[in-house]
Amino acid sequence: MAGLSEDMAPDDRLAATLADVRARLQDKLDWMICGIEECKKEMADPLMRPGAMQAIAEIAHKISGVAGSVGFSDLGNAAAKIDIGFRKAAQEAAPAYPNDTLMADLETLLDQMEAAIEQ
């Protein structure tokens, strides 16, 4: 792992790991935003909707597992909300288009993702 060496003090080593993971997450956020935007378009088609909603939940799940540990608590919380909301909605037999609240939460997540890239 770049920036890490065996002779570093344990806390310095952990700080370097966290910085490394944070940078890697930031790198991934760009294509994750693109992925969510693609899924948003696909959700308009009832046939593609379950898969698109599931895919959004998956992306949010990945973010929520890591973001809070590397200083992006708001991003992690927004992602956790989307993970749960979209996964539940996608499990229905013929899921309806997400309601306004859920879509507003999704926009919040996208905003948080963009903000995290800048930080």
């Binding site: 952990l14 790991t17 993971v21 590397v70 608590s73």
Partner: protein, 322 residues
């Protein structure tokens, strides 16, 4: 402690690697899927002593992996900590039913991860010591060797939805965060348990508590309970707060089923035993802690003054020091 951590997310693996090393755990291996983990377990010349499992993974999920690991004789008691971003009750329930010892939600703090691993390490040491004493050849599980005492909260295997006392404590801790006051506890007490303990061999006594666990499960199965044996003939079942149980009817049902089971010890002698059932104890929204509910359920089921279980003694000491 030799740890196997399983997560499909490369970033989580990097995080875990850093955090575990920081906590002083250097003997850690990683797998990116359930299938890879099973392969590593099979090939490992030295058994793993603790597992950290993500739940949502492509292919085999962490709950199924937990179930498969737990089914291996060498890993019946090895600590399994679920490490997941999934907070809903259904996943917590599924994990503990599959044999998880603990459940930690992401994002995880170093302090909390460290505390859970220390408990896992102590548990693992206990398992190793017992296995060494029995040479791993015991007819009953390794924790039920000749030195098990009346107050020991021995783990009962092979009865559905029965988990260890420690796992029940961790389960309630998790429930208190997500489902604060929707659950309740019911205590069960084998009457004259000291007499049964002294008049039977350890194996017979173990078979007796397995029988009781089985009957408690049968009587409460409609609400998907989680049940644990706490030692000294005490059991606790965690059930939804709203249910259709009637205390008297349940007492009658349990004792009738036990009568019908015709329990015979290894000498072929019938053991006539009864179980008292406590009233349902509801969780409190602002309850003191998870152990408080278990303690109250155990106490409410006592038909007579029983010596405290080892679990009760520890729980009371912890309550006093908080």
């Amino acid at each position: 402690m030799k740890i196997l951590a399983v997560d499909d997310d490369e970033l989580v693996i990097r995080l875990l690697d850093g955090k575990l090393k920081n906590l002083g755990y250097s003997d850690v291996e990683f797998a990116k899927s359930g299938a890879e983990a099973l392969d590593m377990i099979e090939r490992s010349p030295v058994p793993y002593q603790c597992f950290l499992l993500d739940i949502r993974m492509p292919g085999m999920d962490g709950v199924e992996l937990c179930r498969r690991v737990r089914a291996m004789p060498a890993y019946r008691q090895t600590p399994i900590i679920m490490l997941t971003a999934l907070v809903e009750k259904q996943f917590v329930d599924q994990s503990f039913v599959a044999g998880a010892t603990d459940y930690l939600t992401k994002p995880f703090e170093n302090l909390e991860l460290g505390a859970r691993l220390r408990v896992a390490s102590m548990l693992q040491k206990g398992v190793s010591d017992k296995s060494a004493q029995t040479g791993g050849q015991a007819h009953v599980p390794a924790d039920v060797s000749d030195d098990f005492t009346l107050s020991d909260a021995v783990t009962i295997h092979d009865v559905p939805r029965v988990i260890s006392a420690l796992a029940l404590e961790n389960y309630l801790l998790q429930l208190s965060r997500i489902d604060a006051f929707r659950h309740a506890a019911i205590g069960f007490q084998i009457e004259n348990v000291a007499g049964h303990f002294h008049n039977n061999t350890r194996e017979d006594f173990y078979d007796m508590i397995v029988d009781v666990a089985d009957v408690i499960f049968e009587v409460t199965r409609s609400v998907n309970p989680l049940i644990a044996y706490l030692g000294t003939g005490s059991f606790v079942a965690i059930v939804p707060r709203i249910n259709s149980f009637d205390h008297e009817e349940m007492t009658y049902q349990i004792n009738t089923e036990l009568d019908q089971s015709n329990f015979l010890n290894s000498l072929g002698q019938a053991a006539d035993f009864a179980v008292s059932v406590g009233p349902q104890i509801n969780s409190k929204m602002f309850g003191r802690n998870a152990n408080d509910l278990i303690l109250r359920a155990i106490e409410s089921a006592q038909p007579e003054r029983q010596p405290p279980t080892r679990w009760q003694s520890f729980a009371m000491l912890r309550a006093m020091s908080n």
